[in-house]
């Protein structure tokens, strides 16, 4: 295996504009396999766009993006990516189980039915498996979305504001599942506003501001504070203020 393949994501001078509006400008980013990166940033900084680029839903207007060492973005690369967004990407008129079975089948699972059932149990939705998604609560829907994304055991997990609209319990379930995914050696890239939860799962954090990476740093676990993230939080807060200050002024 060559050195290049040790990276899950390699972005070189990546830029994206929607028509005349530039959203990302010259973003260069490396994410090593198995690493957990959290991207913070104010609204409109281009975080979601960066994630959508990594998810192959959008193509860059400039620069180069390699996923798993390959710049050919095709079905083989998509198979290795799981995405959780603030939308669930599931069909509201199908039941939880039908949704999962469909996606398992779409990813070519050998036993889609069984896989769907086992994942429903893992995210605690076994009781409501036969109810259409339309009647489920936001938290349940988000858990289903997580099952949908993790079911094909992707190597790269992309999360766009995964905690938004979740109550504390549901958010904790999500964090636990993400921690498991990370332990299994998956690369996790998260985009969020939630400082505490975002830091808790991160090895590294960066701040995206106006389409550019404005700050980058490792996250020290086991420092001060009740969660051992006191130092990291202080560093990030400081950087965030510094980066976004010119706008306020």
């Amino acid at each position: 295996m060559t050195a290049a393949c040790d990276f899950a994501v390699e972005a070189d001078g990546l830029s994206k504009s929607f028509g005349r509006t530039p959203v990302l400008r010259d973003v260069t980013l490396r994410v090593v396999r198995g690493e957990a990166l959290t991207i913070f940033g104010p609204n409109g900084a281009g975080k979601s766009t960066l994630l959508r680029l990594c998810a192959t839903l959008t193509r860059p207007t400039g620069g180069c993006l390699r996923l798993f060492g390959s710049d050919a973005i095709g079905p083989e690369v998509r198979r290795r990516i799981g995405v959780v967004s603030h939308q669930s990407f599931c069909y509201p008129d199908l039941t939880a189980r039908e949704n999962l079975t469909f996606f398992a089948r779409a990813y070519g699972a050998a036993a889609p039915e069984a896989e769907a059932v086992s994942w429903l149990a893992r995210v605690g939705l076994a009781d409501v498996a036969h109810r259409p998604l339309r009647v489920l609560s936001r938290g349940m829907e988000q858990r289903l979305a997580l099952a949908r994304a993790l079911l094909p055991t992707p190597d790269l997990v992309l999360l766009d504001e995964p905690w938004s609209g979740l109550d504390a319990t549901a958010a904790d379930v999500l964090t636990v599942l993400l921690a498991t995914a990370k332990c299994e050696g998956r690369t996790v890239i998260t985009v969020t506003h939630d400082l505490d939860r975002g830091l808790a799962i991160a090895d590294r954090a960066c701040i995206l501001h106006r389409g550019q990476i404005a700050w980058e740093g490792a996250v020290q676990h086991g420092g001060d504070g009740p969660d051992g993230l006191g130092g990291a939080r202080a560093a990030l807060n400081d950087a965030y203020r510094r980066v976004t200050a010119p706008v306020a002024a």
């Binding site: 504009s17 929607f18 028509g19 005349r20 530039p22």
Partner: protein
């Protein structure tokens, strides 16, 4: 870009004069040099414009389809500009075909409009590319609109042979109200052929020049926007 810079001096300094001169020559040919057609009289002279308009319209649409294909393949905005220019120029001439056609048909066939296969096809083509312009106008702020337009132009041109065949079949089935004399094509005098060739050259030059102008306008439009954006960026 290099193709553009190489073409620019010719397109800027030669094309407009060449087009004007040949067009004047074409006018002389049509009105003075060419003889009256025996059956139709002076009305037949509109044929030189009518037919060349039709060919120019086709040329514009095919340029648009080719550029659209290249745009989808390569993704360079220049191809999209060329495609738009092609549709706009094609529409101009297509409209002129639909105007000159009835003017000729009124004295010769005795009616402004008839469902002659060629006429029918032209009107269908006109609607397809009118929708193209409409699509680009209504959704001009959609970032993907160039790609959508390209798909429409390609599918539209793919449709042309099918429209041609089916419209011909369709008219063959129904009895025609007017038994149309084959007014077109009967160029018995060699001077007529010369006139047709001169007008053809004039129209080709005109099409090339119009294409160039539209292309440049669209390109500069884009460039101005880019500069504007950079200014607001620097200001912020």
């Amino acid at each position: 870009m290099t193709v553009r810079t190489r073409l620019a001096p010719i397109a800027e300094h030669v094309l407009p004069y060449a087009a004007t001169l040949t067009m004047l020559g074409a006018l002389w040919c049509v009105f003075i040099y060419a003889p009256d057609e025996r059956m139709q009289g002076p009305v037949q002279r509109i044929f030189y414009f009518h037919v060349n308009c039709a060919w120019s319209a086709f040329l514009g649409f095919f340029v648009a389809a080719g550029a659209s294909g290249l745009f989808l393949w390569r993704g360079r905005p220049a191809y999209d500009h060329l495609a738009q220019a092609g549709v706009q120029v094609g529409m101009l001439f297509c409209t002129m075909v639909l105007v000159t056609g009835p003017i000729w048909a009124r004295p010769i066939w005795g009616t402004w409009w008839t469902w002659d296969p060629r006429l029918t096809m032209t009107v269908i083509l006109w609607t397809i590319f009118a929708v193209y312009l409409l699509l680009r106008a209504t959704a001009h702020d959609d970032p993907e609109i160039a790609r959508y337009g390209a798909v429409l132009a390609l599918v539209g041109v793919l449709d042309i042979p099918l429209i041609m065949v089916s419209v011909r079949l369709w008219r063959g089935m129904h009895p025609s109200v007017i038994s149309a004399p084959e007014g077109k094509g009967g160029l018995e005098d060699p001077r007529m052929i010369t006139t047709l060739l001169v007008t053809l050259a004039a129209f080709l030059l005109l099409v090339a020049w119009l294409l160039w102008r539209r292309y440049e306008t669209l390109r500069l439009h884009d460039e101005i926007h880019n500069i504007e954006d950079r200014f607001t960026e620097v200001a912020a």
